[in-house]
Every structure is written in structure tokens, then in C-alpha cells.
Amino acid sequence: MIRLFTKIIKTGNRTEALGKADHATELLGEQLSSAIRKKFQGSLAIREVDAGSCNGCELEIIAANNCYYDLERFGVHFVPSPRFADMLLVTGPVTRNMETALKMTYEATPGPKLVVAAGDCAINCGVFGKDNYAIAGSVADIIPVDAIIHGCPPTPTDIIRGILQAIET
């Protein structure tokens, strides 16, 4: 145990001030009034949905939770079910085999809710292409989207900035 505590003390606090984004976030739609968005600030529960990604975006979303970025310090945390989520963070082109699951997850999320599409695939199907029999479309083709975060994959900073922008506007 002593080694464990020594390691914690030696490691110290590595969390950094949030850096500059590499890729842009765009806000779409007028789904929620700014008054409601404001209410999410300080405590936002997110359900992550991989609708067909290559898992690169997932790696970067996991990284947004590491000690350098510490997404939770902004009051944002990931939850295991859409039933108690305020936001869906969706990655990947939506495959034909995930279309129903994504719609059901959206339905299961209580309103008011936000949807952020993260990564180039979620925005325009990326390298896999919209003109593909196995792909149902981009996230916005399937469910209403409030904000999109560019990048292949977006960096952890891009992801955090995108999420915050979606609730702060």
C-alpha cells in the first residue's frame, strides 16, 4: 500500500488548463433554448453511442476522461444508460445494423436532450462513405443533431470544447 500512496504523491496533479481545439465545433439547429442549455451547466450526464465507428473516436473520448483533461471537472460525466442522460454523444457513420438501436437510444433519453455528433464519420460518414450499402447515413440523417465536432478522430480537447460549447450557447 505504501508504494501505491507514494506513487500517487509522486505523480502529483497532472490536470491541465483546457487547451486550444485542433478541430472546429459547429452548432446546428435550435432544438433547445439557451435557458434550458444553461440548466445543464455544472452537471451534464452523457450517454456515448458508437453507431458504427472504427473505435478511434472511442479511444479519444476515453482519453478526455484521463487525468490530463479530466472532463469531470466541468461537471460532465458519462452514464451507462440513456434513461438518465441529458446528452447523446454519437460517433461513427450510422450503419444499417445500428440504425434501430440508435433511434431507440434517442427515444429512451428523456427530454430536453442534446445530441452531439463527434468525428468526421458521424458528420459525413468519413472514409466509409454515404454511398455505401451498409451505411444508413450520418447521425443527422437519423436523429436531430445539435452540434458537430470535426476531426478523424477529434482530439480530447476538441471533444471537451465541443460538449461545453453545445451547452453554453
Binding site: 508504494r3 501505491l4 506513487k7 500517487i8 505523480t11 497532472r14 450517454r47 456515448e48 453511442v49 458508437d50 453507431a51 458504427g52 465507428s53 472504427c54 473505435n55 478511434g56 473516436c57 472511442e58 479511444l59 479519444e60 473520448i61 476515453i62 482519453a63 476522461n65 484521463n66 487525468c67 490530463y68 458519462f78 451507462p80 444508460s81 440513456p82 461513427g92 457513420p93 450503419t95 444499417r96 445494423n97 445500428m98 440504425e99 434501430t100 438501436a101 431507440m104 437510444t105 468519413g126 472514409v127 466509409f128 462513405g129 454511398d131 455505401n132 450499402y133 451498409a134 451505411i135 444508413a136 478523424c152 478522430p153 482530439t155
Partner: protein
């Protein structure tokens, strides 16, 4: 690159009266591709099993414009000494059918089911004929990998195929279990963590899992079809995204397959840089997964430390190679990145520092009774089962199967390195984690050795595609295990078929066996100890 034709397996087969023909348009010659009669197909598999060969992959390809045949099926096996052998047989165009080989190699079942879905090939005697990649809402007569099916075909909307209120899972005949106190427990496709989608169907009594059945295909995004019509250079970007955590391994497998087909030598400096990239990817994924297993076992400290190290690696990758996950660093003909003297030093320093820290953390992990109690003895795969399935990578190395292409095939740059792979036998979560710790140390040693050996020279050779009809095959030891890839070029340097087998396609079977008799709450740490790719499986 001049290799002698490998006639070993052809001779074994001819001893049993199985006639083969050596195909000239396949490269490299040392990995011979033999044509066999369709009626000998299952006998060939039987002979391969008898010779203790490992099943590598099974796929199909339509003949190109240069060929008067219609449709081919391929399978590949590997022998410890005699290495890879490919076999091909031609199928009847009107009613393509193929004998089942799953009686000899159980891992072939899902690949055979994919052949049924994607090519409409009937597999005679297949014990499990349920659709695999095509879920219930796909029209039955649609076979997306056939050339008569353009990649941009618009499929009918999913809702039209489902009756009202039906879930996509309703139509799938999961294995049933009945009896007092047995309950069924569906999980997914949307999982509780930040992971990929897939469906697990548990049967449990109390908290013990009786059986777990996997149902995948959710992230099937037409990757193999997408490759068709690309040039080799264009394909590299897609290959990097077959499974995001294996960006280097898949890009390397793709690039090397194309290079073999084209008889192209890659500059020495590029070969060594590929090795460095691949070993760094291995370290990053292993430490991330060790953290993940500990997190699922309630040992958050280890996860925080490991994710910190992983982040430090990602930052250096961005700095030196231009991408945090090392995507788009390898292309057919070479690499797209370089290291100057200062960068080499920084990379060496960080690699040693991370290896040191991982060793330090390993002693803390080993001394922590809370996590040890969870991992020791949980989710064992016996050596017998591991051989039967042909488990790959760390999952195999934890269960007495030591297949490692870096050692067996020793493709450059591993031909100059003495790779030492850990050899576990107990096959439980603890052993899989132990293998990963060992591999972090070994890969760090390899990175340092490769950095010392980095010659001056160019980074790329221009890729010139081979003649139409030429194919190539290779196997790369990615961090998860062997990636087997086969490419065939058509007219004007355009790829007309790329077939790739991610190690996950085989290792997922190991997880099904591992979690029998395991308490349901220990499923996550077992799953993480395998950490198979869904995207690489579903393609």
C-alpha cells in the same frame, strides 16, 4: 524478393491422393497458393489439422475480368515451420456451394456464415446457418460482395423490414436454455461503457454464467466492398480505419500485401520505422487495457496511472508522427513520417521511461490483494480449447498457443531482432494481463533496438501496381495478434478484392469459452482482458 515455391503442403496432399495445382499469379511464391478440386476442400482441411496447422482465414472472391471462371473460395493455414499455404477452389456460378470445414476448424463457422451472407455461397453441412453480418432486416437475396451489387446500392429502409414493435434481435434464434432458476440476460448492442456495439446473450443461474453467446455485425460498414475500386495508395487511409486501435497494424498488413503482390521492396529506413510504429502501438494498447481490466476490477488507481501513460504516448505520437493514434503513417511503398536525431532520442527516452513506470506499477498491481483476487483464476481458457480455436496474440500466449508472426515468419524488420514472446499456460485473466505486461517490456526493448539501427535513406518507393489478376497475401503480428490479408489487383492498378481477417474474428470465440462458470460481474474484466475489436470483426 525472390523466394522458392513452397511445395511441402502440396506433397502432403498428394500423399493422400489430393491433386493440387500451383498458381503462378500469386505472390510471394514462398506462400504458395494451390488450386484444389471443390470435392477435396474438406479433406484438405482435415489434412491441415492432421499436420497441426493453424487455421488462418477463409474468404471468397469473384474472378476478375481477366479470368473466365466465376467465383473462388480461398482458405489459408499456417504451419509453425512451413508457414502459410493458401488454397483455392472454383465454385459454380449458378449455385455456388462449398463443403463445410468447421468439423476440423471451429473458427471457420462465422467466416462461412459471412460467405453465405455476403456472396450467397451455400456451405454444405454448416452446423449454424443463421445469418451473421446481414441482420434479419436485410433482404435474403441480397449479397453485397457480388460484383453485380454496386457499393452504393440503396437498401430498403430498416423499418419496412421489421414489423411494428419488433426489435432487430427478435428474429435471431439465440441458443436457448431451460431449467429451474435459469434466466436469460440480453446486453447490447449499446453497451454501458464507452465501447463499440455488439450483443451478448447470457444464460445464468444465480450469478454464474452458464453460457454467453455473441451476436455481432452491428458495425458492419462495407469496408471490404469499399476497398474495391481504390488504388493501393488510396486504400491505405481506409486500412488505417479498419479498427482505430490497430491503425498501424492494419495499414501495415494492407501495405505489405500490396507490396508482395507488386514485388516491391521497401526502403530499409521505412521498414524499421514501421517496426517502431507497430511496437509503440502495441505498448499503448496494452497499457490502456491493463488499466481497463483494473478499472473493471475496481482498482481505479491503476487505470488512472495507465491512462496517463497512454496519453503521454499519444502526445508524442502527435508530435513526432502527426497523429495521436498513428493513423495514415504507413502507405504501400513506405511510410509518411520520419524521425530526426533529436526526435529519435526523445522517442527512446520516453519509451524507456514508460517501460520503467509500467514495471513500477506492475509491482503495485501484483501486491494488491483486491485486484489479484478478481483476476487470478477468472475466465480460464484451457490449452486444448485454445489450440482447437487457434487463439491469436496475447489471448493465445496466455493459453499455451504461441503463434507470433514476428518470430515464425520474421518479416523485416523482425528478421534482425530476436523477439521473445511470453509463454503463459493458465489462460485466465491474470495470465492475459501478465502476458501484456511482458509484452510492454519486450516491445520497449524492440523499439530501442530498432532506433539504434535506423539507417539513412529514403522513406518511400513509388508503388507500381502489378498486372491485372495478380494477388498477394501476408500476415502481420499486430498488437492483438496475426492480421491476415489478401489482395488482388484488377485493371489499371485498381484493387478488385481485399480480404482481411482481424485476429478478433477468432479470439471472440475464446471469450465465449472463458466466461463460462464466471460470475456475471466478472464479465467486464474478462472482456477487457481479451479486448477484441468489433469493427475489425464486422468490417
Amino acid at each position: 524478393m525472390i523466394h522458392e515455391a513452397n511445395t511441402w503442403f502440396a506433397e502432403c496432399l498428394s500423399d493422400h491422393g489430393i491433386f493440387t495445382r500451383y498458381l503462378e499469379d500469386h505472390h510471394p511464391a514462398a506462400m504458395s497458393c494451390l488450386e484444389v478440386r471443390r470435392l477435396d476442400w474438406a479433406n484438405v482441411a482435415e489434412e491441415a489439422r492432421r499436420k497441426n496447422m493453424r487455421f488462418v482465414s477463409l474468404w471468397a472472391a469473384e474472378a476478375g475480368s481477366h479470368d473466365k471462371k466465376a467465383l473462388y473460395a480461398y482458405m489459408a493455414f499456417a504451419h509453425l515451420e512451413h508457414r502459410h499455404v493458401l488454397l483455392r477452389t472454383d465454385l459454380n456460378e449458378k449455385d455456388p456451394s462449398l463443403p463445410d470445414i468447421s468439423g476440423h476448424y471451429i473458427s471457420s463457422v462465422r467466416m462461412e456464415r459471412s460467405l453465405q451472407d455476403m456472396f450467397g455461397i451455400r456451405v454444405e453441412g454448416l452446423p449454424d446457418t443463421r445469418q451473421w453480418l446481414k441482420h434479419e432486416h436485410w433482404p435474403e437475396d441480397v449479397h453485397p460482395m457480388r460484383t453485380t451489387f454496386p457499393v452504393d446500392t440503396r437498401m430498403p429502409p430498416v423499418e419496412d423490414a421489421l414489423s411494428a414493435g419488433d426489435l432487430p434481435e427478435t428474429g435471431y434464434a439465440f441458443i436457448k436454455a431451460e431449467g429451474d432458476g435459469i434466466y436469460e440476460y440480453p446486453v447490447g448492442p449499446v453497451h454501458a461503457g464507452i465501447i463499440e456495439p455488439g450483443h451478448f446473450r447470457f444464460h445464468a443461474v444465480g450469478e454464474k454464467i452458464l453460457n454467453m453467446e455473441e451476436r455481432f455485425g452491428y458495425v458492419h460498414k462495407g469496408i471490404e466492398k469499399r476497398f474495391e475500386g481504390l488504388t493501393a495508395v488510396e486504400g491505405a487511409r481506409l486500412a488505417s480505419r479498419i479498427s482505430g486501435d490497430s491503425a498501424v497494424a492494419h495499414a501495415w498488413a494492407f501495405a505489405q500485401t500490396c507490396e508482395y503482390a507488386a514485388y516491391l521492396d521497401v526502403p530499409e529506413r521505412a521498414v524499421i520505422l514501421r517496426g517502431i510504429l507497430c511496437e509503440r502501438e502495441r505498448i499503448a494498447n496494452h497499457i490502456g487495457d491493463i488499466g481497463g481490466v483494473c478499472n473493471d476490477g475496481g482498482f481505479a488507481f491503476m487505470n488512472v496511472q495507465m491512462q496517463r501513460l497512454r496519453e503521454e504516448m499519444a502526445r508524442m505520437h502527435k508530435d513526432l508522427f502527426g497523429h495521436r493514434l498513428l493513423m495514415d503513417t504507413i502507405i504501400p511503398g513506405g511510410v509518411t513520417c520520419d524521425l530526426n536525431a533529436d526526435e529519435q532520442q526523445r522517442l527512446a527516452q520516453q519509451t524507456s521511461a514508460i517501460a520503467r513506470e509500467v514495471e513500477e506499477l506492475r509491482t503495485i498491481y501484483a501486491d494488491h490483494p483486491g485486484i489479484q483476487e478478481r483476476v487470478i483464476g477468472s475466465g480460464s481458457v484451457s490449452i486444448e480449447d485454445a489450440i482447437s480455436i487457434g487463439l491469436l496474440g496475447y489471448a493465445g500466449r496466455a493459453s499455451g498457443v504461441y503463434a507470433d508472426e514476428r518470430i515464425e515468419e520474421a518479416y523485416p524488420p523482425y528478421d534482425r531482432l530476436d523477439v521473445r514472446a511470453p509463454r503463459g499456460e493458465l489462460g485466465d485473466v491474470a495470465t492475459r494481463v501478465w502476458v501484456r505486461f511482458e509484452e510492454v517490456a519486450e516491445s520497449s526493448r524492440l523499439v530501442l533496438a530498432l532506433l539504434k539501427d535506423l539507417p539513412e535513406g529514403s522513406l518511400q518507393t513509388e508503388f507500381i501496381a502489378p498486372e491485372a489478376g495478380t494477388s498477394g497475401f501476408d500476415a502481420i503480428e499486430g498488437w492483438r495478434g496475426e492480421i491476415a490479408a489478401w489482395v488482388r489487383f484488377g485493371e489499371n492498378g485498381i484493387i478488385d478484392r481485399y480480404a482481411v481477417r482481424d485476429p478478433s474474428e477468432i479470439n471472440w470465440l475464446g471469450l465465449e469459452l472463458a466466461v463460462r462458470e464466471v460470475p456475471v460481474p466478472d464479465f467486464p474484466l474478462n472482456n477487457k482482458s481479451f479486448n477484441c475489436s468489433y469493427s475489425g470483426n464486422d468490417l
